[in-house]
Structures are given as structure tokens and as C-alpha cells.
């Protein structure tokens, strides 16, 4: 990863970037092609897990009435998710889900944030597998919570049969089935994946494009500079997307749980 700048300067990096650029070489065994058991992506996911565990353990090891700076930070994050997402969306029952939502929010925020950390510079969430698995957890959770709260029959009746006169139900039930049980996990996963994928691709295009133009013709140097300035600007845009997508994923999970817990119409 530290040889990147040299590779770029020598004009060896292929422009336009392709999907291949998302499949980084293996770490163990070192540099092996087509071996994906332990890559930079894997390492980053475990890094994120480790960082989050250590952060919350350290900040909350000796909780004090007047919080220290670190404790304040951890409590603000938890308080934000609990009050502004869990309780706001679900109501008083949402407090029970706040720990999971906080974990989810922090994990997505941190793994997304890796996309703009120098040296890491790619988010694990730009591989569909990670968002897909998070979406599966949300999907199973809202169905399970709904069944536990209402019982299976009542839960499926509630979520499939909208409050409408009987003659219009045949029109509405397929839509409900499709939008509740098929589209939800898919859209959750694709929304996060596509945002991170596109973000990484954009940064690649503008960075590599600068080098490609420079290598093609020295007189294009000012345009290269413009391209790199765009990279800087897009990095700030990326930061916005990173926070927004972490928030949206959590809010939508909360909204699905809320729908599963909602009383009948």
C-alpha cells in the first residue's frame, strides 16, 4: 500500500479504475493472487471491531458522575442513538434496542470512515458482502421481534393486510408483501454498498485521472492539479456520505422494528 505513490508516478496504474481495484492482494499468504481469506478488507473489519470494543471498554471502565472527555464522547454517541434514533422512532420500547443500534451505527460509521483514512482508503462496505450481512441481521431481527411481540399469525396479518376496504385488498397485499419482505433487506444492503462503492470509485477516478493526464502530456499538468483539488473536495463530500449512510441504515432498521412492534390498525 505504501508503494502506491511510486506506482502512480511511473504511470503503471491502469486508468480507468475497474472493479478489480476493489479486490486487494492477500496479506496471508503475502501478495497471493486470488486468495481472499485474509486481505486488507478482512484486516480492516477486525480492526474496526477491536477499536470499538476497546473504545467503549476504556471510556466506560470507571464511569464518573462528572464525565471525563472520553466518557463524554462515548455517552454522547450512545445518547444520540438512544434518544434521537431508538426512542424517537420506536417510543419507550426503543430503549431495549438502543445498545444494538449503537453498535450498528458505530460499526458502519467506522468502517465507512476507513474510506477516507490515509493508508486504509477503502471501506469494507464497498464489498456487498458486509452490508448484505448487516441487512440480514436487521431483517431477521424485525421479523423475530414482531413475531415475539404479536405471535406469528397476528404479525403477518398486521404487516400484510393494510387498513382498507376488502375489495381493494387483492391489489394492496402483493405490494405490501413485496415492499415489506423482499425489498427491505435488498434496499438496505444496496444503499450502503452502492454509496461506498461509488465514493471509492469517484476518488479513484479523480486521483488516477490526474496521473493519467500528467503522463500523457506534461502540458496537462494544470488540469491534473484541478483533478486532485477535486479529489480533496470529494473527500469532504465522502465524509458527509459516510455519516449520512451510517445514520440512514440505523434509522431504517429502527423504522422496521417500529413497524413490527406497531399495534394493529
Amino acid at each position: 500500500m505504501f508503494g502506491q505513490a511510486n506506482v502512480l508516478a511511473q504511470g503503471e496504474a491502469a486508468f480507468p479504475p475497474s472493479v478489480e481495484d476493489f479486490y486487494l492482494p492477500s496479506i496471508v499468504p503475502w501478495g497471493a493472487e486470488n486468495s481472499y481469506w485474509f486481505t486488507k478488507i478482512t484486516a480492516m473489519v477486525w480492526l474496526a471491531v477491536g477499536l470499538l470494543i476497546i473504545f467503549f471498554l476504556v471510556t466506560y471502565r470507571k464511569p464518573q458522575l462528572v464525565p471525563t472527555k472520553k466518557q463524554w464522547l462515548a455517552e454522547s454517541i450512545y445518547g444520540f442513538v438512544r434518544n434521537n434514533i431508538a426512542v424517537d422512532m420506536i417510543g419507550h420500547r426503543g430503549v431495549a434496542f438502543a445498545p444494538y443500534f449503537t453498535t450498528l451505527f458505530c460499526f458502519i460509521l467506522l468502517t465507512n470512515f476507513f474510506a477516507i483514512v490515509p493508508g486504509l482508503q477503502i471501506s469494507p462496505n464497498s464489498h456487498i458482502a458486509f452490508p448484505a450481512f448487516l441487512a440480514v441481521i436487521s431483517y431477521v431481527m424485525f421479523i423475530w421481534v414482531g413475531i415475539r411481540h404479536h405471535g406469528a399469525g397476528k404479525f403477518f396479518k398486521n404487516s400484510l393486510i393494510p387498513p382498507a376496504p376488502w375489495y381493494i385488498l387483492p391489489l394492496l397485499i402483493p405490494i405490501e408483501l413485496f415492499s415489506t419482505f423482499i425489498v427491505r433487506p435488498f434496499s438496505l444492503a444496496v444503499r450502503l454498498f452502492a454509496n461506498m462503492f461509488a465514493g471509492h470509485m469517484l476518488l479513484l477516478v479523480f486521483t488516477l485521472g490526474g496521473f493519467a493526464m500528467l503522463n500523457a502530456n506534461v502540458w496537462l499538468a494544470p488540469v491534473s492539479l484541478l483533478s486532485w483539488l477535486m479529489t480533496v473536495a470529494l473527500t469532504f463530500l465522502e465524509f458527509l456520505v459516510i455519516c449520512l449512510q451510517a445514520y440512514v441504515f440505523t434509522v431504517l432498521t429502527a423504522s422496521y422494528v417500529q413497524g413490527a412492534l406497531a399495534d394493529e390498525h
Binding site: 417510543g91 391489489l171 402483493p174 405490494i175 415492499s179 427491505r184 423504522s255 390498525h265
Partner: protein, 78 residues
Amino acid sequence: MAGDQTPRPSGGPDDVPPGAGQGWTALSYLIAGMLVWGFIGWLVDGWLDTGGVATGIGVVVGMAGGIVLVVRKLGTPT
């Protein structure tokens, strides 16, 4: 945003998802309506050889269904 920690007065009806959730729900109903009934129309097309008419009707019917769902589930204040 982290400083704003006033919990919402709870006890109101929990039926309608507030804020962002409501927007996504509405959007997903509208799109899902068109997709589901468009797909059914497309199947009918293939079955009866109507050359796209049934797909068109299906999309319009699905859109109407989506709008009915949005009005019914999100529109009526409780």
C-alpha cells in the same frame, strides 16, 4: 446534534414511523406498487401476447395501489 438529548414525550400512538422512516416507507410503497403490478402485467403480456398493453395497465394500477397504501397507512392522522 449529540447535545440535544431531550427524549420525546412517549405515550402517543406508535403507529406511524416519524420523520425519515415515513419518507422511505412512502417511497418504497410507490416503487414497489409499480414493480409488483408491472411484473404481473408483464407475465400476463407473455401469456396473452398483448404486446406491452398489460404491462402498462399493470404499472398504472400498481401506482394507484401504492398511492392508496401511502394515504391509508401514512396519511390519516390518528
